[in-house]
Symmetry: C2
Subunit: 142 residues, 2 copies
């Protein structure tokens, strides 16, 4: 998983004549190893544990590259900050967000996707990406 991510990040960087620095490698590893959704702040904290000189600025700059290279996907659950999740090698999915405990449940639903495409066609709209979030109470919080 790390290997795969490093390979595609390296390729991405080379294609853009950018450099693979030790900071970028560290941040990438922490991002891939982090499970679930994490914020930029969390990623900085994790990265600092491996290399205490890594700065906030570098984390934000690297996050931009990781998004561009489709290794990470950015999500906004309306908590005032963005969160990230690994996307490379994973299927597309949407989210249920518990507004009491903050738990996030992922789901895949092809039928919904199909209807979205149909709706877009009806509107002569070309979908590039979408975001579906269902907010409410999870089974523990109901």
């Amino acid at each position: 998983m790390i290997k795969e991510a490093e390979a595609s990040f390296t390729e991405f960087l080379e294609k853009k004549s950018l450099k693979l620095t030790s900071q970028r490698r560290t941040i990438l590893r922490q991002a891939i190893e982090a499970q679930g959704h994490f914020s930029a702040e969390k990623l900085l904290e994790l990265s600092k544990k491996k290399d205490k000189t890594i700065s906030k600025a570098t984390v934000y700059r690297t996050l931009t590259l990781l998004k561009e290279s489709n290794i990470l996907e950015e999500q906004d659950f309306g908590e005032g900050k963005k969160v990230y999740e690994r996307s490379q090698g994973r299927k597309h999915h949407d989210h249920l967000v518990c507004i009491r405990c903050g738990r996030i449940i992922e789901f895949e639903n092809d039928a919904i996707e199909k209807l979205q495409d149909r709706e877009a066609t009806r509107q002569k709209f070309h979908i590039v990406y979408h975001s579906l979030k269902l907010f409410g109470f999870c089974k523990n919080c109901s």
Copy 2:
């Protein structure tokens, strides 16, 4: 439309022992008269035209009340700021967002909603509200 909104805002305020000030009335009117989606900044600008003493703080504080009273709905299209739209007396709808020209198209799709409910049931999740946004190119921008 204004009458209806003023009536329910008044009722909301009374229920909470809050006061209907001239500023709140002005901001409410501008919010209802504004068409489409508008930002806090835009609402401040509109409100200042009617009463130049109205402050940014009051607009933000009033927006909170207008959301709580279900007169406005908050949307985040990922442009870095929140936007608002009138919700009272309107049907629920979702959005297509053009990532080139910024155009926002509303649509209603009961079939999608039904599938969302079914998915939630499957996950033993109780939906309170949801957000579905399809990002891409509108017919003029394709």
